[in-house]
C-alpha cells in the first residue's frame, strides 16, 4: 500500500523543545532498529536552547539518488525516497556529500547508507511515522493539509528550497510564519522598488546612470 497522497510530513522548528523523543523513537522503528535516522542539534547552546530536528525531506528530484553510481536509492511513486538498498549500495558516500540537507548517514560497519524513509513500514500501512507520533511538541507533525491549516493558523507550509543554483521541492513541508515573506539572501532583492531589478550597467557611460544600477568600474588592466 502506498503512503496516502493527501498525507504530508510537516516540520515546525519553532515548536521544538529538543527532548529527543523523536531520536529515541526512531531507533525503535522496525526497519532500522537500534539506529536513529533523525538529526537533532542545538543551533548554539551557548546562546539559546533552540534545537532543530531534521528528517529526510523526501525531494521530488532527490539529489542523493541522482548522484548514486549504483542506483541504490529509489523514490517510490508515493513520493518517499527510500533508504539505500543493501544489495546495491557500495558505501561510496556520494549521497552523504551531495544531499543539500545533510540527511543520509554512512554506517561504515555495515557498508551501507541509511536514512529516514518516513517510517515506510508504518506510513504505508496508514500509521503515522514514529517520530511524528511521539513528538510531545508536535514540531514533527504528520497529517493532511487541511489538518495543519486548521491546527496551525499562524503558520504556513513551504516546500521549495534554494541551494545555490539548485531549487528543490520536497514532500516534507517546513512550517514558517504565515505573515512574513520568505527571506531571500540576495541583497539586491531589497535594493529596488520595482518588481524586476534594473539592468546592470558595467560600462562607464554616465548617460545611463540613474536608470540602471551602476556597478563600480574595476580597471581591466
Amino acid at each position: 500500500m502506498p503512503v496516502p497522497a493527501d498525507h504530508f510530513f510537516f516540520i515546525d522548528p519553532h515548536r521544538c523543545i529538543g527532548c529527543e523523543a523523536c531520536v529515541q523513537a526512531c531507533t525503535e522503528c522496525d526497519t532500522h532498529k537500534g539506529h536513529s535516522m533523525i538529526h537533532l542539534e542545538y543551533v548554539d547552546r551557548h546562546e539559546s536552547p533552540q534545537t532543530f530536528p531534521v528528517v529526510c525531506m523526501h525531494c521530488d528530484s532527490p539529489t542523493c539518488a541522482e548522484v548514486c553510481p549504483a542506483d541504490a536509492i529509489k523514490r517510490t511513486d508515493d513520493g518517499v525516497v527510500q533508504s539505500a538498498r543493501k544489495p546495491r549500495c557500495i558505501a561510496c558516500n556520494n549521497c552523504v556529500l551531495a544531499c543539500p540537507f545533510g540527511v543520509p548517514k554512512m554506517h561504515t560497519g555495515m557498508e551501507l547508507m541509511m536514512k529516514c524513509d518516513m517510517c515506510y513500514d508504518r506510513s504505508s500501512e496508514g500509521k503515522r511515522p514514529m517520530c511524528a507520533t511521539v513528538c510531545p511538541s508536535q514540531a514533527l507533525f504528520y497529517g493532511t493539509r487541511e489538518q495543519i491549516e486548521q491546527l496551525r493558523p499562524r503558520s504556513r507550509p513551504i516546500n521549495e528550497f534554494h541551494f545555490g543554483q539548485q531549487t528543490i521541492h520536497t514532500k516534507v513541508r517546513m512550517m514558517v510564519p504565515r505573515e512574513s515573506a520568505v527571506t531571500h539572501l540576495d541583497v539586491m532583492d531589497s535594493m529596488f522598488d520595482a518588481d524586476a531589478p534594473p539592468e546592470i550597467d558595467n560600462t562607464d557611460d554616465l548617460m545611463l546612470a540613474g536608470a540602471t544600477f551602476k556597478l563600480p568600474v574595476v580597471s581591466q588592466r
Binding site: 523543545i17 529515541q24 536552547p49 533552540q50 513528538c135
Partner: protein
Amino acid sequence: MAQQPIATLDIIQHFGPHLAYSDGARLDRGLDPDRLVKTHCCFCGQQCGLQLKVKDNEVIGFEPWDEFPFNQGMLCPKGVKRYLQGAHPDRLVSAQERAPHAPGGFAPLAYDAAIERTAAAIHRIQQAHGNGAVGVLSGASLTTEKAYLMGKFARVCLKTPYIDYNGRLCMVSAGVGNKKAFGIDRAANPWSDIIGAEVVWISGANIAECAPITTNYVWQAREQGAKIIVVDPRITPLARTCDLFLPVKPGRDIALFNGILQQMIEHDWLDHAFIAEQTVGFDALAEAVREWTLPRTAEVTGIAERLIRQAAEWWGLAKSSFLMHARGIEHHSHGVQNVLGAINMVLASGRIGRKNCGYATITGQANGQGGREHGQKCDQLPGARDLANPEHRAHVAKVWDVSPDDLPQPGVDAYEMFRKIERGEIRGLLSICFNPLVSLPDSNYVARMLDKLDFYVAIDFFLNDTARHADIVLPGSLQEEDEGVVAQVEGRVIKINKAVDPPGDARQDWKIIQDLAKALGRPHGFTFHNPREIFDELRRASQGGVADYYGITWEKIEQNYGVFWPCPTEDHPGTPRLFERGSHNPIANGAGPFYFPDGKARFHVAPYSPPTEETDAEYPVIFTTGRVVSQFLSGTQTRRIGPLVEQYPEPRVEIHPQLAAQLEINDGDWTTVTSRRGEITLRAQVVKTIRPDTVFVPYHWAGPKSANRVTIAAQDPLSKIPEYKVCAVRVAKAAAPPDYAAQLEPQQ
C-alpha cells in the same frame, strides 16, 4: 547496623547502575510480540498512555497508543525507552542481606527467611522502644492501591505514627495551598481547558523537560491566540519562544504575584462580582499588597518593570486564562505562600471553574496526585481525610475493622523522620519507592542518619543508592509487573495494566507488605488476594471524603479512558472540572462551588520573606536545582537505561558567561560548587540562558555528583517541603578533575 557493608565503588560494580541497551529479541526486526498491553508510562505525572510489546514474559518494546486522549500517542524519550528497565542485568531477583565479605557487599537470601528476619527485627525494636521506633518511607510512584496499603500497614499493622512519603519533596506545598484556598487538593481543570485560554501563565515549571506532553497543549493554545507568559530563572525550551519571559530571581515568586495583584487592583482588572459572591478575604489581601508597587516588585524579583507591567496587563485584561505552576515555586521555605500568591491572582480574576478558565499544579511523580490522597501522608487517611479529625478516624477505622482509638495520631514529615533517627527515636526503617540519599537535601546528613539505624529494610527492584545501607533488601516489582490505578496530573484516575510477571523471587509490593504483616503476627486486614480487592476497600474507605473514589470501578476507567474524582456513585460520570455550578461537593452541599461549608474560596495574605539562606560575601551565588528531560527523579531507573544516559550523561553546572568570565571558567571546565553543607565538582556549561546571579544543577545523580550534597534542609513550616530551589554557594574553577572522574561511569 545500617551502614554500607563495603565501599560504594565495590557495590556499584556488582549492583550497578549499569546500562541496558536494546539487544536480543528487542532488536529482532521480524519478531511479532505475543501481545500488546495498553497501559501507561511508569515515570511522571502526565501518565501517557502507551502499549508495551510483550514476548515470552519480557517487554521487548513499545507501540504508541493513539486513542488515549491525554497524549494521543505522544511520548517523551523516557516513555519511549522505559521498557529497557525490564529484564535488566541489575534487577534484584532475590532478597539480599548485608554481607561485608560477599562480592558487592550483599548476599542472596531466601525470600521467606528475609521476611522472617525483617519481622523479627521490627518486633525486637518495637518491643524495646515502642511502636513509634519503626518508621516507614513510602512513595508516590506506587499505584494508589499500594499507597493506600502502605498507610494502612503503618497505622494498623505496625501501629506507628511515623509514615511519610516522597511526595513530601514534590507536591505538598501545592496541596496545602490548594486546601487553604479551595478546600480541595487537585488540579482544578482538565488539560483540554488550556487550549482556548487567552493567557497561559507558567510559573516555575520547566514544562518541556519535566512534563513534555503538556508542551503541545501550550503551543496549541498559542495557535489559537493565547499569550504565553513564562516565569523562570532560566530560559527553558518553552521560554525560548514564549510571548513574555520573566526571569525571576530564585525565591522571589511571591513578590511577583503580589506585584501583579497590586497592578490588577490599581487598574481595576478585577472580577468584583466573583470576589464578592464567591470568595472571602479580599479586602485584607488588597491592603497587604498595597506596598507591592512596580518599582519594589522589580527590585525584589530582579525583573524589568516594563515586563511586570505587561504581564499584569495581559493577565488583568484576559477573558480566559490557565495558570500552571510546579516545583519552581513550591520547593521553597515559603512554598505554600508562593502557591497562595498564584491562587490569589487566579481568584481575583474570577477565571476558574469554567471552560478555558483554569488553574493547576503540575504533579511530578506517576501517582503524584493519587499518592497524596489515600493515607500515606503523615497526617492523612484515605479519601483525603485528616488523621486528626475524630469523624474521619471513625469512618476509616470502621472500614478497617479496628477501633478509632487504636489508630495512631499524625506523625511527622519525611525529613523530620531523619531528625528522629538522629535523636534515637526512630531506630528501624522500612522504605519503598523512595531513594532519600539522592532526593533529600543535605545528603551527607541523610547518609549519617542511615548509618545510625539499628535496622533498615528496603523494598526495591534495583539496589538503589539508599538501599546500599540496608540490612535486608526485599525484591519488589516494576510498574509493568502489577496492576492498579493512579491519578494523573488532571485528577483523572487511570489503570496500570500488568504486562509481565516479576522475575525470580521478586514479588508484587503489596504481597511483600502482606507477608510482613503475617510474619509479624498481625495479618488482620492484610489478606487481599489481588489489587482489585484493595481497590474495592479503598473505594469504601474514601466514600464521602473529598477524594471520593466510591463510584470508580476498574471497568469504568477502561471504558472511559479514565475517570476524574470525585466520583461518589457508580452512575456518576466523574468530575473533570472542579468548582462548576452544581458539581459534586460534599462539603458545601450546594452553598457554592468551593470545598468549604459556605462554598466560598479563600484569599490569603501571602507575605514575602527572603529565602532561608541569603547570599553573602562568603557564599555569593544562588544555587538552584531541577531536572533534565532524559532522567527521572533520583535516577534509580533512568540511570540504568543506556540511551537515556547517553542523551545527558552527567550533571553540569549551568552558569552565565558573565559570571563564568569573572571566575575564569570556560565551557567544560571542572567547577566546584560549595555550600555550608557540602560541595560537588562538575563540568561547567556556560550558557546565556540562566540569570547571571544563579547557577543550576540537575539533581538526578548520587554521591559526588549529587546536587543535594549542596542544598539546604530548610523546609516550609506548613507543607514541610524542602527548599531545593534556592541556597547560597561559592563557585570556583577546580584545580584538578575530581577523583570520581576516573572511577565512575557517567551514570554511577
